[in-house]
Symmetry: C2
Subunit: 444 residues, 2 copies
C-alpha cells in the first residue's frame, strides 16, 4: 500500500492511557493522519513515499502549550526580578501601550512560533491582541493554534470597548475558522478586568459558535482576597454563579484555591492550565496540581508569555511542573514523569476539546509529533525513556517536528521560517523597545 510517510523510530512514546512505549516500531502516515503503528520488521506491506529512520530518537506527541501570549516574545527579558506591580505598571504596560499594533504582533508571533516549533510544540493556546496577525502567522507557518478572542473592560490599541472587542474578534474568527489548523476561544483577560455584564454578553455568542472560554483565574492570593472584598466570593465562585464553569472553560494559573473552589472545578469538569515557571518568576504562588489531579481535574501545562518566563520551552516547563509538585507537597512520588508528559500533551488536547484529534500518537489521530535524539552525553544511559525525556533531555535535542504530517523542522532547521531573517528583524525591534527596558546591570 502506498503511503506518504513511514518513520522508523528507536522508541515511540504514545501517551496512550497505558503509557505505552513502542520500541523499534514504525509510524505509518497518510497525508495528515496516522494510519498504522507496527513493528518495523512487519511493515513491508507499506510503500512509503518518504521513509525516515531514527535509530537514536524517541518520537513523541507534539507538546501543546495550553497558555501563552505569543507576541510578547519581543518583550522577553525586558524587565526581570521586579515585583508584579512595578513589572506591569512601569515596563510591560507602557511598552505595550506604545508598541502593540499589527507589526509588533506579527513579528512577535513569528518569533514565538519559531521558538515553539524548535522546542517540539505543535499547538498553542494564545491570548493577546491583533489576533488576525497571530492567526495569519500560525496558518502561514503551519503550526496548530487556538486563538483567544480578547475581551477586557478598558480600551487598547486593538479595541475601544466591549462591542469592538467582540466584533473585531468575530471577524477574525469568520476569516480563519475554516482553516484546519486553527480553532478559537473567547479569552476574557481576568475576573478583575472583566465585569459580570461583559461575561454575560459573551455567553450566548459562545453557545452559538461552540467556543470555549480561556481566562486567567486565581493567579495570586491577592486576586482572591480582592474578590472576596468586592464580590463577597472567590472568582471561581463568581464564575460558577454566572454558570460559566464547564468542560468548555480553561482556568489559567490557579495558585490560590480553597477546597470549595476545587470541588467546584471538579463538579463542572473545568480544565486547569498550570504555568509553573511564570508563577514562580512573578512570585504568584504554586498551583496545587497534586490535589487537582487527585480530584480528577484535567491539568494541562502552559508557558505563559515570554515576558514572565522567559522562554517557551514546554519540555522544561513539564520538568519544572514535576519538580515543584514534589517540592511543594514533600512527596517524591508526586507528579511522576509520565504524568508530566501527559499534562504537556494529551491533557492540553482535552482542555482544548481536541483530544480526539491530537495529544497522543494513535491510529486515526493527526500526525503532530517530534523526534528527539537521545544519543548524547546528557541522555545516556536510558533506563526509562519517559524519565530520560522529562528529567534529563533538553529541547535542543529535538531534531524534527511535524504538524498534520507536514515537517516544520528537519534536522534542527526550520522549514517554513527563515531563521536568520527573523533574527535580524528581531534585532531591529530591540532598538525600538529598548527605552522601556529595566536596567539592573551596569554595562560598559
Amino acid at each position: 500500500m502506498q503511503v506518504s510517510l513511514q518513520i522508523n523510530a528507536r522508541w515511540i512514546i504514545t501517551v496512550t492511557p497505558d503509557d505505552r512505549v513502542l520500541e523499534h516500531h514504525a509510524i505509518i502516515i497518510q497525508d495528515d493522519t496516522i494510519i498504522d503503528m507496527l513493528p518495523q520488521d512487519q511493515s513491508s506491506q507499506y510503500t512509503p513515499t518518504e521513509l525516515l529512520t531514527f535509530n537514536h530518537h524517541a518520537v513523541v506527541p507534539g507538546f501543546i502549550n495550553a497558555h501563552t501570549h505569543a507576541a510578547m516574545s519581543l518583550l522577553k527579558g525586558l524587565a526581570d526580578d521586579l515585583p508584579l506591580d512595578q513589572w506591569l505598571n512601569e515596563h510591560i504596560w507602557p511598552a505595550e501601550s506604545a508598541l502593540v499594533e499589527e507589526p509588533f504582533v506579527r513579528d512577535g508571533s513569528e518569533l514565538a512560533i519559531a521558538e515553539m516549533i524548535r522546542g517540539g510544540t505543535t499547538c498553542f493556546n494564545d491570548m493577546y491582541f491583533f489576533i488576525d496577525q497571530t492567526a495569519a502567522a500560525a496558518s502561514h507557518i503551519g503550526i496548530r493554534a487556538s486563538i483567544g478572542i480578547p475581551v477586557i473592560d478598558f480600551p487598547t490599541r486593538w479595541a475601544k470597548d466591549l462591542n469592538e472587542y467582540i466584533t473585531k474578534g468575530l471577524a477574525v474568527h469568520e476569516r480563519f475558522h475554516s482553516d484546519e489548523l486553527l480553532t478559537f476561544t473567547f479569552a476574557p483577560h481576568a475576573p478583575y478586568t472583566v465585569s459580570d455584564e461583559s461575561l454575560k454578553t459573551l455567553q450566548p455568542i459562545m453557545d452559538e459558535l461552540g467556543l470555549a472560554m480561556h481566562m486567567h483565574l486565581h493567579e495570586t492570593e491577592n486576586e482572591v482576597q480582592q474578590s472576596l472584598q468586592t464580590h463577597g466570593m472567590s472568582p471561581i465562585q463568581r464564575l460558577n454563579n454566572l454558570a460559566l464553569l464547564s468542560p468548555d472553560f480553561m482556568a489559567v494559573h490557579m495558585t490560590s484555591l480553597s477546597d470549595t473552589d476545587i470541588q467546584l472545578l471538579a463538579k463542572h469538569q473545568t480544565h486547569v492550565i498550570h504555568c509553573p515557571e511564570s508563577n514562580l518568576k512573578l512570585a504568584s504562588g504554586i498551583c496545587p496540581t497534586t490535589a487537582l489531579l487527585a480530584n480528577q481535574i484535567n491539568v494541562a501545562i502552559g508557558t505563559d508569555g515570554s515576558a514572565s518566563n522567559n522562554d517557551l520551552d514546554m519540555l522544561g516547563e513539564a520538568r519544572t511542573a514535576a519538580l515543584i509538585a514534589k517540592g511543594s507537597t514533600l512527596q517524591a512520588d508526586s507528579l511522576p514523569a509520565k504524568q508530566a508528559l501527559r499534562m504537556a500533551t494529551i491533557n492540553g488536547a482535552k482542555a482544548l476539546g481536541l483530544d480526539k484529534k491530537i495529544g497522543s500518537l494513535e491510529v486515526g489521530k493527526q500526525a503532530d509529533m517530534f523526534a528527539i535524539n537521545l544519543d548524547s552525553i546528557e541522555t545516556q544511559p536510558v533506563y526509562d525513556v519517559i524519565s530520560t525525556l522529562i528529567y534529563s533531555a533538553s529541547r535542543s535535542q529535538i531534531s524534527d517536528v511535524w504538524v498534520a504530517g507536514k515537517r516544520l523542522m528537519q534536522d534542527h532547521k526550520l522549514i517554513t521560517i527563515d531563521e536568520s531573517a527573523l533574527i535580524e528583524k528581531i534585532k531591529r525591534w530591540q532598538g525600538k523597545i529598548n527605552p522601556f527596558h529595566h536596567h539592573p546591570t551596569k554595562a560598559v
Copy 2:
C-alpha cells in the same frame, strides 16, 4: 607583546562585585592567566598566538558545581519519582553495593565531566568513593576539581573502617595534591552516618593539611528531628559544639533551618551549598536562600549527583534557584539573575577557598570560562545579557570552554574526550545496571 590567546567578545560578563559587563572588549591570556581586559579597538599592543572572535557570544566565568557525585551519572534515571527511602534502599544502594568499584567510578566520572564541560562547568566539588579514579579522570581531561575524601561509619567497597577511609583518602591526596587543577576536602557523608568520634579524628588531619570539610547537612526536616531526638540538638548545633563550623566548612542542602541555625552559620562564615533541583526532586524541602543571603552567608550552587536531578546543568540549576527563591518567598525581586550567576560562579570559588584564583573574569585570575552564542531564536532580543543568560539561554548554546587557558571544548566538540567512544562505553554499562532499574513505564 606576544601573548598566547586573545578573545574578542560581544559581551564579557565579569562577575566582579559591581556586576560589570564589558561590550566589544578583548580578554588577553598568557598561558593559564588573564593578563588584560580592554576595548578591542585598543588592543593592538598584543600579538596573540591565537586570536578568537565571538561576535555573537558572551564570555562568562566557568560555572563551579559546588556539590556533586560525578560517578553517579551512570545511575541517572535509574529510579525516579519514588519516596527517598525506597529510592535509596531498593535501587541506589543495592546498585552501588553491587557495582561501585574502580571501573564504575572511572567511567561514571568521565561521563559526568563530559556533561559538565559541555554545560560550561569548569570546576566541580565531588563527594564519592574510589576518588583516585575521579581525580585521575579530572586531571587527564583537564577540568578543575575539588575531590572529597569520603568518610562514613560503615563499610563500602572502598574502605572497611574509619582508619581505611582516612588512609586511602590521604594516599590519593598525596598522589595528586601537587596537580594544579586538583584540591581536596574531607567529605564526611552526613551527621547521621558519621559519629562525633569520627569527626574528632578528622579535625587534626584537616588542620595539618589545610583541608576544608564538605558535608551533607540538614537535607530534610526528618534529619533535623532525628538529631533533636538523638542528640538533643540540631545537626548544625552539634557541629558547632564540635568546633567544626568555620569558613572552611561547606554545608550542603540546608533545607530545614531555625533562626538559631542561621545565626550560627553567619557567625562562623560557614558556606552553604544549595542544590535546588535535587531537593525538589527528592522532596527534601527548599533551602531558604533569601534569608541566608540577607544574613551575609555565602551561598553557592551544586547539582548534586545525576541520580537525583537528573542532569549536571549548572545554568539550569541557577535558573531554578532564582525561580524557587521567588516562588517560596512570594517576592519577585528575590534572587535576581545577577545573584544567581554569582552563586553559580564566584560564590562557589569562595566556598572552595579558590576565589583569588577563579570565579570571575579579572586580571590575574585563571582563564576558566565559557563562550555562549546568544544569536539564536531562544535568546533574541537581548535587553540585559545577564537576564538573557540566566532566564532564556540553555546550556546547548555554550560553544567553547577553557580551563586554565586550555580549550576543552571547541565549537561544541569536546577536545580531550572522545564522545562517541564514551557513549558506546556507557551503553555497555547500561546493560550491567539495568537489573537495578525501577520500571514505571510499560515497554512493548
